[in-house]
C-alpha cells in the first residue's frame, strides 16, 4: 500500500513537472506573441500618425484655398457670408410626385420633353 502511494506521488510529481514545463513554454510563447503584437501596434500607430499628419497637411487651409481657386469654374465656391443663410419660409414644399405609367428610362426621357405643361398643372 505504502509503495503504491509512493508510486502515485512520484507520478504526480512527474506530471506536475511536465505541466510546469509546458506552462513555461506557453508563457514564453505568449510573451513572444505579445512582443510581436506590440511591434505591430507600434508600427500601426506610427502609420496612423503619418496618415493623420498627411491628412492634416493635405487639408491645410492654404491648399484648400488654392484648390477652390483652381476649380472655381466647376464648383463656384465662394466664402460664406450672411447672404447664404436662409429663412425657414424660403424652403419650398416638396413638389408632388409626378405620376407616370412609363416603363423604361428611354421612354421617360423621350416623353419628358413634351410634358412640362402637364407637370405644371400638377403642382398646386
Amino acid at each position: 500500500m505504502r509503495s503504491f502511494l509512493y508510486f502515485l506521488t512520484a507520478l504526480a510529481v512527474i506530471g506536475l513537472a511536465a505541466w510546469a514545463y509546458r506552462e513555461n513554454h506557453l508563457t514564453q510563447q505568449a510573451m513572444n506573441e505579445r512582443r510581436a503584437l506590440e511591434r505591430e501596434v507600434a508600427s500601426l500607430s506610427n502609420a496612423i500618425t503619418i496618415q493623420r499628419t498627411e491628412w492634416a497637411y493635405l487639408n491645410r487651409p492654404d491648399r484648400l484655398r488654392e484648390l477652390v481657386d483652381v476649380n472655381f469654374a466647376r464648383l463656384r465656391l465662394v466664402p460664406m457670408t450672411a447672404d447664404h443663410f436662409g429663412e425657414i419660409g424660403q424652403v419650398a414644399y416638396p413638389l408632388p410626385v409626378l405620376r407616370s405609367d412609363y416603363s423604361t428610362a428611354v421612354e421617360v426621357f423621350g416623353d419628358l420633353q413634351s410634358t412640362p405643361p402637364a407637370r405644371q398643372e400638377d403642382t398646386p
Binding site: 512582443r35 501596434v41 507600434a42 503619418i50 492634416a56 497637411y57 487651409p61 466664402p79 447672404d83 443663410f85
Partner: protein, 598 residues
C-alpha cells in the same frame, strides 16, 4: 525537567508495606512518561504545521498580491523611443474642433560610424550628390579623421533621401529613429504654436523641446509621459484663424502697412478663437532670432501679445465706462469740449473742433480727446489706476504663451493729473491688443473680468464683477452708435450689427516725441452689438489708404474696413445667423426701457 524514576524506592517500599503490587507504580509512571513524550511530539508537530501553513500563506499572499498588481496596472503600449531615457514623445496640439495644429512624425537621422566605413571617400562623394549643401572634400576629411568615430550628418531625412543614402550601400552610414515636429498648416497660427527644436540627442531618439509660444509654455505637459497620448486642445479655430490671416494679409498689403495683428476672443469664456500677427513665419522652419534691427519688426515678434503700444482713442471706452460706472456722468450729461484744453505747458486738442459742448455719448461717437480728458479730470489718479488695474491693463497679460510674461505695459513714471487726462484717450500708457481684447470683453459681457486663455473651455468664466451690468449695457449701445453714426462707418456690414471704437495713435519716434506720418490704427469691435459674443481687435501698423488725393491714415479708413471684412467672413463661420439692424435696435430699445423701469 528531572526524569522521574520508573520505580521510586519510597513509593515501592510504601506499596510493599500496604501489600500493593509495586509493578502498578512502574506502569503508571511509564504511562505518565509516555503521555509527556506524546504531548511534546504533538506540540512539535503542531508547531511545524503552523510554520508551514504560515509559509504557504505568505507565498499565496505574495502571489496573489503580484497577480492583483498585474491585473490592476494599465496595459502599456510599446512605442518607438520610449525604451530609452531620452524620449522623443510629445503630445499633439489640436484646435478646438480637433484639427491637427502640431504633431510628431517619425523620421530618421543620419549618422556615420567611421570605423565601420568601407570606402569613406566614395561615401562622402555620394552624400554630397544627395545633399547639395554637403561639401564632399570636407566630409571625406571628417570621415577619415582617426580622432572621430561618430559623426552626425543629418537630423532629419525624408523617405526619398533615406532610400538614396541606403542605396549608397555603405555599412558605416546608419539611421537613427527620430521624431520630427510637424505643423501641417504652415504659417497659420505660427505665433501661437511657436516651434520646436531637438534637445538631447541619442542614437535611438532625440528630445523635442518647445522653443516659443504654447510649445514652450506647455513644454512639460506636452512631454509628460502620462499625458503624451492626450492631445492639447487649444481654443483656436483653424478655419477662422486661416480666414483672419487671409483677410488681414490682404488688408495689410493694400494699405501698405508694416505689420498687423488681430485678436478674436469670446467675451464670456475668454477663449482666444484667433490670434494673428503679421508678418509671420513658418514654424516648421523657425527663423533664427534677429541679431540686428528692431526686434519688434522681426516676424518672430508677436504683435498681438508682446507688442505694447499706445493705442489711442480705443482706450476712451474705458474712461467713459469709468465715468458712467462711478455715477459721475450719464450718457446724456453735457461735457465742455471747448479747445484747446491747456494743462501747464501741455495742450489737448481734438481732431477737429466739435463745438462748445457734447453729450457723453457724442464724446464717444465723435471721439473727443477733450471730452474724455474732462470726464477723467473729475475722477482722479487713484480711481483711474484702480479701474485700469481691475481690467488688467497695469500687469503683463495672462495667457498661455511663453512670450507673454516677458513684456509688460509701459506706464507713466509719475502718474500725474496730466497722465490721467492723456491716458483717458490712450496716450501715456501702452497696452497690447490682447489685453485690449480682454478689456473690451469685460466692458460688454455684463461687466465681468475676463482672463484671456488659449485652452479650450467648457464653461463661462466667472470673473469678478468690475463694472455694473447697466454700464455694460450703456457701453454696448455707445459702441453700436460709434459704428452707426460716428467714426467707424465702414464697419456697417450687411447681416451683422457691429459695435466698436476706433483708435489712431501717432507712433512715438525713436528720439521722443511723436511721428507725424506713422499711425498705429486700431479698431476694437464687438459683434453682434446688441448681445456681444465676440470681440475683435484689429491693428494696422503704419497703414495708409492712398486711394484718395492724400493718404488717409486714421483707423476709420484703414483698420475699420479690414476689421469689417474679417467680421463679414468669420461671423458665418462662427455659426452666427445674420441679424437685421432693426432687430438689434429693437433689442437696445427694449434694454433701455427695462432699465428705466427699474
Amino acid at each position: 525537567m528531572m526524569r522521574t524514576p520508573l520505580r521510586p524506592l519510597a513509593r515501592v517500599l510504601k506499596a510493599r508495606e500496604t501489600g500493593e503490587n509495586p509493578d502498578y507504580i512502574e506502569q503508571e509512571n511509564r504511562r505518565l512518561r509516555l503521555e509527556n513524550m506524546r504531548d511534546a511530539a504533538r506540540n512539535q508537530a503542531e508547531g511545524r504545521l503552523l510554520t508551514l501553513a504560515l509559509l504557504f500563506l505568505c507565498g499565496f499572499v505574495l502571489l496573489g498580491a503580484r497577480m492583483g498588481l498585474l491585473a490592476a496596472t494599465a496595459p502599456l503600449e510599446m512605442s518607438v523611443g520610449l525604451s530609452e531615457d531620452i524620449s522623443s514623445a510629445r503630445a499633439d496640439i489640436l484646435d478646438r474642433e480637433g484639427r491637427v495644429l502640431a504633431t510628431n512624425l517619425p523620421t530618421h537621422a543620419l549618422y556615420a560610424e567611421t570605423r565601420r566605413m568601407v570606402d569613406p571617400v566614395r561615401a562622402a562623394r555620394e552624400l554630397a550628390r544627395i545633399f547639395p549643401d554637403i561639401d564632399a572634400d570636407r566630409m571625406a576629411a571628417r570621415f577619415t579623421d582617426p580622432q572621430r568615430r561618430f559623426i552626425w550628418i543629418r537630423a532629419q531625412l525624408s523617405p526619398e533621401q533615406q532610400q538614396a543614402v541606403h542605396d549608397i550601400g555603405e555599412p558605416g552610414l546608419l539611421f537613427g529613429p527620430r521624431d520630427m515636429r510637424v505643423y501641417p498648416n504652415g504659417r497659420i497660427a505660427a505665433h501661437v504654436l511657436g516651434g520646436a527644436r531637438y534637445g538631447q540627442q541619442g542614437v535611438r531618439a532625440a528630445e523635442l523641446l518647445g522653443v516659443a509660444g504654447t510649445e514652450l509654455y506647455f513644454d512639460s505637459r506636452l512631454r509628460d509621459p502620462d499625458m503624451v497620448k492626450e492631445p492639447l486642445h487649444l481654443s483656436l479655430d483653424l478655419t477662422v484663424q486661416a480666414t483672419v490671416t487671409e483677410v488681414l494679409e490682404g488688408g495689410m498689403r493694400m494699405l501698405n502697412a508694416k505689420g498687423a495683428s488681430a485678436v478674436l476672443m469670446d467675451v464670456y469664456t475668454g477663449e482666444v478663437i484667433s490670434l494673428v500677427s503679421l508678418p509671420d513665419f513658418d514654424p516648421n522652419q523657425r527663423p533664427a532670432p534677429p541679431t540686428e534691427g528692431e526686434p519688434a519688426d522681426s516676424p518672430l515678434f508677436n504683435r498681438a501679445v508682446q507688442g505694447y503700444y499706445e493705442l489711442g482713442s480705443v482706450m476712451k471706452s474705458f474712461a467713459v465706462a469709468q465715468g458712467l460706472d462711478s455715477g459721475a456722468v450719464t450718457p446724456d450729461t453735457m461735457i465742455d469740449t471747448r479747445g484747446p484744453l491747456t494743462w501747464g505747458r501741455f495742450r489737448i486738442n481734438d481732431f477737429r473742433n466739435y463745438g462748445p459742448e457734447l453729450s457723453v455719448r457724442d464724446v464717444m461717437v465723435r471721439s473727443s480727446n477733450i471730452g474724455t480728458a474732462r470726464i477723467m479730470q473729475a475722477i482722479g489718479v487713484e480711481a483711474q489706476q484702480d479701474f485700469l488695474r481691475k481690467f488688467g491693463f497695469l500687469d503683463p497679460a495672462q495667457i498661455e504663451l511663453a512670450e507673454a510674461a516677458r513684456s509688460r505695459p509701459l506706464l507713466p513714471d509719475r502718474w500725474s493729473d496730466l497722465s490721467v487726462m492723456t491716458i483717458s484717450y490712450g496716450h501715456g500708457m501702452s497696452t497690447s491688443p490682447l489685453a485690449l481684447a480682454a478689456g473690451y470683453a469685460s466692458l460688454v459681457n455684463g461687466g465681468r473680468k475676463i482672463t484671456p486663455t488659449l485652452q479650450r473651455q467648457d464653461n463661462v468664466q466667472a470673473g469678478a464683477q468690475i463694472i455694473s451690468a447697466q454700464t455694460s449695457q450703456q457701453m454696448r449701445l455707445m459702441l453700436h452708435q460709434v459704428v452707426q453714426q460716428g467714426t467707424a462707418s465702414f464697419a456697417r456690414i450687411a447681416g451683422y450689427p457691429v459695435g466698436g471704437k476706433t483708435g489712431s495713435a501717432d507712433k512715438p519716434g525713436p528720439r521722443g516725441g511723436y511721428m507725424k506720418d506713422a499711425v498705429l490704427a486700431t479698431f476694437a469691435s464687438v459683434f453682434p452689438s446688441h448681445d456681444p459674443r465676440y470681440v475683435l481687435i484689429v491693428t494696422l501698423d503704419e497703414g495708409a489708404d492712398t486711394t484718395g488725393p492724400e493718404p488717409r491714415r486714421t483707423a476709420g479708413w484703414t483698420a475699420v474696413p479690414v476689421s469689417a471684412e474679417i467680421t463679414r467672413r468669420i461671423a458665418p463661420l462662427l455659426d452666427m445667423r445674420p441679424i437685421r439692424l432693426e432687430a438689434a435696435n429693437a433689442a437696445f430699445d427694449a434694454a433701455l426701457h427695462s432699465s428705466v423701469g427699474h
